[in-house]
């Protein structure tokens, strides 16, 4: 099941990241990412509200997925993770390399300067895998801990739609 989460991460490169502001408002923005196994790298500005939020509370929520033609083709992840800055020079260089491989368009831009850009990593703790090919609303939950990955049984919230929801014509 972890393999399926990695597949979905590998097949995408844009995610929504939510942090919580000091005043308690959630704040959701979109960022490009690259992943290595289930470890997720992204770059944010040191001057951003997001960076300040993470410095205060490292709990973040990530979503990976895309619009769909056929509802039964929905494959998405909702992830609870802890985010931190990558300060180790070697790991930072590796993260930047992975990000440039996943986002070749970024090569046109100046490389991220350490004074302006923070390279971040998000370590998933709970991964919800949505796979509607198994039924509308089908979700498996993975809990990641140092001891390994544990899966809880699938939950199906089909909203009463059952299998009647048609592809978008």
């Amino acid at each position: 099941m972890k393999g399926k989460a990695i597949d979905i991460l590998d097949q995408n490169r844009l995610m929504a990241v939510a942090t919580v502001r000091p005043d308690g408002w959630p704040q959701c923005t979109m960022v490009g990412y690259a992943n290595e196994d289930i470890l997720i790298y992204f770059i944010i500005s040191r001057r951003s509200q997001k960076f300040a939020n993470i410095a205060k509370d490292d709990r973040v929520s990530l979503v990976v997925g895309r619009d769909f033609h056929d509802p039964s083709a929905i494959k998405a992840l909702s992830i609870a993770a802890r985010a931190s800055e990558v300060r180790d020079g070697k790991q930072r260089a590796r993260a930047v390399k992975l990000l440039l491989e996943r986002h070749p368009g970024l090569r046109k831009l100046d490389p991220p300067g350490d004074d302006h850009s923070a390279v971040m990593r998000a370590n998933p703790e709970i991964i919800t895998i949505l796979d509607y090919s198994k039924g509308f609303g089908h979700a498996d939950v993975l809990t990641v801990s140092p001891g390994g990955v544990e899966m809880t049984p699938a939950r199906d919230d089909d909203w009463g739609f059952g299998s009647v929801l048609k592809p978008v014509s």
Binding site: L14, C28, V63, S78, H103, W159, G160
Partner: protein, 159 residues
């Protein structure tokens, strides 16, 4: 509402929505939506964590945008909004019509039973419009008066 924000909201149909769990963790999911200006409509499962989160704290954050062919064309809108359930049957029916227009695959399916799915609205209060066509990293922030504040202002004018 800002023209670029309106254009981005109106040309998409799925958004990321973040709520805050009672334990303080943010929680983000993708939902289909339809909007009428700065009011965004969506359905959520009544038994969902998201519904419980909103019942506990109605502040939500929305993100709409997709991947551009070139980062210099990136456009997205982020909104701080307050979410609430629509309980008035006529308002719920109107929201369902808007959702069906935006999501044609819903046409012909009955509105999900209100006992299972809640029809929600989110009223945008703070908007951040990211528009890299105006320059890399360009963002505009604007605040929209909430209905409550508008009413207060109206009352002040009337006084």
């Amino acid at each position: 509402m800002d023209e670029t924000a309106t254009q981005i909201f109106s040309s998409h149909r799925i958004m990321a929505i973040s709520t805050v769990r009672p334990d303080g963790w943010p929680q983000t999911t993708l939902v289909g939506y339809a909007n009428d200006g700065p009011i965004v409509y969506f359905l959520i499962f009544r038994a969902s964590q998201k519904f419980a989160n909103i019942a506990n704290d109605n502040r939500v954050s929305l993100a709409v945008g997709d991947e551009p062919p070139d980062i210099r064309l990136a456009q997205a809108v982020y909104a701080g909004a307050r979410a609430s359930e629509i309980t008035d049957p006529a308002a719920r029916e109107r929201a369902w019509q808007l959702l069906k227009q935006r999501h044609p695959n819903l046409v012909g399916t009955p509105m999900p039973d209100p006992s299972a799915a809640a029809m929600m609205q989110a009223e945008c209060e703070h908007l951040c419009v990211l528009d890299y066509t105006k320059g890399l990293g360009h963002t505009d922030a604007l605040n929209l008066p909430s209905e409550r504040e508008s009413n207060q202002r109206l009352e002040e004018v009337e006084r």
